[in-house]
Symmetry: C2
Subunit: 285 residues, 2 copies
């Protein structure tokens, strides 16, 4: 069951990177013609009543979402906070195992950042305990704090660069003495100093297409995770155009997951996922 | 059982802040004459063999540490990564409940940072699920990402400013167009823009006394959490002198926890905690 308008896409030009995660992503993107990443941000208050009564409501909900979208998604991205708030670590483990059994890559969105010895434990959590294929991390504590993640050469390490929230500007748009803004500096460091294992990618919000274009300019063909379309209001056309020229993973969570809270919730999610994938493909040239 | 050299201390001058967490901390600091925070970073590989065989080794180890140091510690600080790596959320819950039952304040060191709707879930995790009195957060995503934490006016919100790892310089020492470094800007924003609920504190590493003094200059009497003494090599005398003039919580973890891996591990931990508290008090004037 497929696909977006392949006559205008450049999926065939996707480059193999010799990184297990990025290769799995690009292969899947190319085969299914989709850049869509479905974010798994389970909020039990928004589940359909029948799911809410389930013994494992979060896993049941996620499984329904995955089953409804697995041919439309190049990867899944569980957001750690939603599991942590609900004491649902076991349901997170089950969700990740389910996705892996389907052979679909998975990004654990946890935005970790801590000193080296502690970061080692966070890397163990992400890659050994949960078995994620990729993780999001925060650059504020510098290279040595990211090193335990970067040491996993086969994984994808997504460093926050310009985030999708308006307040991201408070710090990320600060202007350095040479005129560069902080997010530009982070993009440069990620490209030149942090990527010796060829496993660094960046999180760049879809809500700021101008800055996304600037990050593309700085980083060459580095892969970007673009959150912020859908519920956060990011413009698909503008952000796809701005982000092209390298790897792109376009993430949507709530707009898909909560398309309906009725019995048709899975079918409604599929429809939104499909139209989102198509809207992305329409502009991916 | 007490205390440091009170004739040279300024504990009596500690100011009541009308924040539940900071008031509990300063009251306890004053009563017990200690600025020491014991970090609970449980690493099962370093536990004494008898503890390692326990059904709940992490909780058992933590309980032994707490029982051995409770009159020496103004608060405890479990580091989330160590529990996450070991799938030990239930032992973290039990540890926190145990500390709370003793009436001792607790900082959950999780360094969270995410967009608003997600940050709400992290705040729920820290304050509702785990019942922490305070939490550490990362400022890279700006004010709106910190707001869900700051909204808990009675809690302590520790924002990363200048961290104790060498790599912290990669980002935090970047120079802005006005000559300020990023950590100075964060200190200024924390003081002027982020503290409307009077619940903001800063994490400032004990490994950089010069920068600690600069943060004190910028922030007035704001409370600092000082990690980095002990195993990380921070100089107690230099950092206490540099940090004085406001609230101080001095954290040590591994040097205390792993003072011995023999049967005397709890007593050895107590001795290191005691000498650390005394060394701090010697310079706290």
């Amino acid at each position: 069951m497929c696909c977006g308008p392949s006559e205008v896409s450049h999926f065939k030009e996707i480059i193999i990177s010799n990184n297990q995660f990025f290769d799995a992503i690009t292969t899947r993107q190319s085969e299914l013609e989709t850049l869509l990443c479905v974010g798994l941000d389970p909020d039990p208050a928004r589940f359909p009543p029948a799911v809410r009564k389930d013994k494992e409501p979060i896993f049941t909900f996620n499984k329904a979402m995955i089953d409804a979208t697995s041919d439309l998604a190049c990867c899944y991205k569980p957001q750690f906070a939603f599991y942590a708030a609900n004491a649902a670590e076991q349901e997170l483990e089950k969700t990740i195992a389910y996705v892996r059994d389907l052979g679909i890559p998975l990004i654990l969105d946890a935005k970790r950042g801590d000193v080296g010895s502690t970061a080692e434990n966070y890397a163990t959590e992400a890659f050994e305990r949960y078995g994620a294929d990729a993780v999001t991390i925060n650059p504020y504590m510098g290279l040595d704090a990211m090193q335990p993640f970067l040491a996993y050469a086969e994984k994808g390490i997504f460093v926050l660069c310009r985030t999708s929230n308006p307040g991201g500007a408070d710090i990320q748009n600060l202007v350095m003495e040479d005129g560069e803004q902080l997010y530009e500096r982070v993009a440069g460091l990620a490209t030149q100093n942090w990527n010796s294992n060829n496993n660094v990618a960046l999180v760049v919000g879809a809500t700021q297409p101008g800055e996304l274009a600037r990050v593309r300019e700085i980083t060459g063909d580095m892969t970007f995770l673009l959150p912020g379309i859908g519920a956060q209001g990011g413009d698909i056309e503008a952000s796809i155009k701005a982000g092209q020229g390298g790897g792109l993973i376009v993430s949507s969570s709530r707009a898909i997951l909560y398309a309906s809270s009725g019995e048709d919730f899975a079918e409604a999610a599929r429809q939104v996922a499909q139209s989102t994938r198509d809207a992305i493909n329409q502009h991916y040239k």
